[in-house]
Amino acid sequence: MQRAPWWRIGWRNLGRNRRRTVLTAMGLAVGYCSVVFMVGWAGGITAELVENATGLVSGQIEIHDAGYRPDRSLYDTIGGRDGADFESLLATITRDSAVVAAAPRVFAGGLVSSGEATSAGILMGVAPRRETVVSRFLDPLVSGRLPEPGANEVVIGEEMARQLGVAEGGEVVVVGSAADGSMANDLYTVAGMFRTGLAEFDAATLVMPIGDLQTLLVLDPARIHEIAVATGDPATATTTAARLAGALGAEARGLDVAPWPELNPVLSEYVSLADSMYWIFIVIIFAVASFGIANTMLMATFERRREFAVLLALGATPASVVASVLGEAVAIGAVSVAVGAALILPPMAWLHAAPLNLDWLYGNVTLQGALLTPSLRIEPNIPAWTWATVGLVLTALLAALYPAVRAARVPPADTLSGV
């Protein structure tokens, strides 16, 4: 193996035509910046969608009676008609190290009226203090305060309040079907209003303390429909759910422990699609960049045919000549990565810490019940960024391969003839 200074030669060759080197390196650096930025932005969109889908109202994991989904019948409560000691279940759940909090919920359909106006809606019973740890939609409220248990108080979505023409301190009548078959109805005071940005949810949801809704629906206090679970990292929800199912003896108890990808498969598929799109970004941008490098290296090697002929005449092997050209390509790739990283990482770090508000450009977007706010948020994706770096250097190498092989095939006698 010849231990010639190919890397040194490659590096120094970059300085021979500085304008060309700078233009090529900038082209590659811009490509690198584009990949890193697009991956980071796509990651930010995905992260916000998942966070909002699993943290705004729903949980990263939801536990129901095995027959509750998809019909969501009033009678399919955890533990069946006898209900369950859900405090014991909550204690088991919160013992898991990945779990941040868990909260019980009761749901029913109903009508909400104020004066002449009526809205069909979802009645949601929550344990207010627990709920604000599991989800974000009640904290902070747009106005007012959380409802007090036993005080016939509710909070409603801002849009529902607008449609009903009711304000904080106003009264609404709630009508629904009770579990005993009777008509459930009562008068409640609006203690506060929430706004999630999810138009349907804000227009159709009324929240009251869980005990008050159980009373309205004539449901035994042991009967709840859902335990919402918040975990530290949505990405680990599936493994955490599997662990909780084991800890709770879910199969024996007829429980369904579902992580968010199972509850919202469309969003899960979107996340998978976004992940695969990283690679498409990388391939497209680097494929374009490869032509720039190939062109530069072809010109550079053509100009230096005589030098390659000299190397070959001196006894360098063709492989050594290939190495010298590839060394130059790697050098330009390394410079491009350094320039690209220096250009893009500071603004990326800033956008990660303080996402840019884009509400002048577009409003809230809802995707499968997940809210996407108009912001430019960057999420680090170290594996993708690492592959972008490796990809750039590999692109430089691959693009230089053909010029390198041509350089190694320079006929020394003909090329040096007369010189």
Binding site: Q2, R16, G315, A316, P318, L416
Partner: protein
């Protein structure tokens, strides 16, 4: 001139025929020569006489159409391209008309390049190059790039590069063609001294009378064939 059992170069009825469309050009015709170690020989002839082609054949840069060439006892025809490259690396040094130094390397780095390819260690490389730079009047210019050297200085670096790897012979193709008289004389003196003191074998292709006058053997090539071969004082 002394004869040893293994000459630096031996050619046996070597032909080189180029085909240009339907025409056949006999660049080298039936050349049989023997170059002993330590020779200082000039291949002289007008442009197009075939002397550069003969040099390229001896250097393994092109293959003969017929005949055989031996360098340091090794027949070239059985060798593949990689083996030829290895043989050049071990046994042959080149000096070109246009110097052909690598512009991105310093004078010292250019001179030590063949030794790097040979795998010679750093200390030995530097010691050999510094000694040769001293002999050739290049001391103090080790760190200069070729662009900062005169033509004569660049050609001296090329000569050091050719001999530093301790080859069996050095092939020099019109080494003085781009130099003025003073630089040519100085370069020839350097090469003559290296030949005399280190025993390096030089074979020149030239039509420079100064080179012919200094050569101890003068072979005239005409139309690709050896027209005369005379040993000189």
């Amino acid at each position: 001139m002394h004869r040893t059992s293994t000459p630096a170069v031996r050619t046996e009825a070597v032909w080189k025929i180029f085909r240009q469309e339907a025409e056949e050009v006999q660049a080298v015709r039936d050349v049989s020569l023997r170059f002993e170690r330590g020779e200082f020989t000039a291949l002289a002839g007008p442009s197009g006489s075939g002397k550069t082609t003969l040099l390229n054949l001896i250097g393994g840069l092109t293959r003969p159409s017929r005949g055989e060439i031996h360098v340091a006892g090794q027949a070239l025809s059985p060798l593949g391209n990689h083996e030829l490259a290895a043989l050049r690396l071990r046994h042959i040094g080149f000096v070109f008309q246009a110097y052909n130094l690598l512009p991105v390397l310093s004078a010292l780095e250019n001179a030590e390049l063949p030794m790097l390819l040979q795998g010679v260690g750093l200390e030995e490389r530097r010691a050999r190059v510094r000694e040769l730079f001293l002999r050739t009047g290049m001391e103090g210019l080790e760190d200069r790039r070729p662009g900062k050297l005169s033509g004569g200085q660049q050609q001296r670096v090329a000569v050091v590069r050719a001999v530093a790897g301790q080859p069996a012979l050095v092939l020099a193709d019109e080494p003085t063609a781009n130099l003025d008289s003073a630089a040519s004389d100085a370069l020839l003196e350097v090469m003559a001294e290296l030949n005399r003191e280190l025993g390096v074998t030089f074979v020149f292709a030239t039509h420079d009378t100064r080179v012919m006058q200094r050569a101890r053997r003068l072979i005239r090539i005409v139309d690709g064939a050896v027209a005369s071969d005379e040993a000189r004082g």
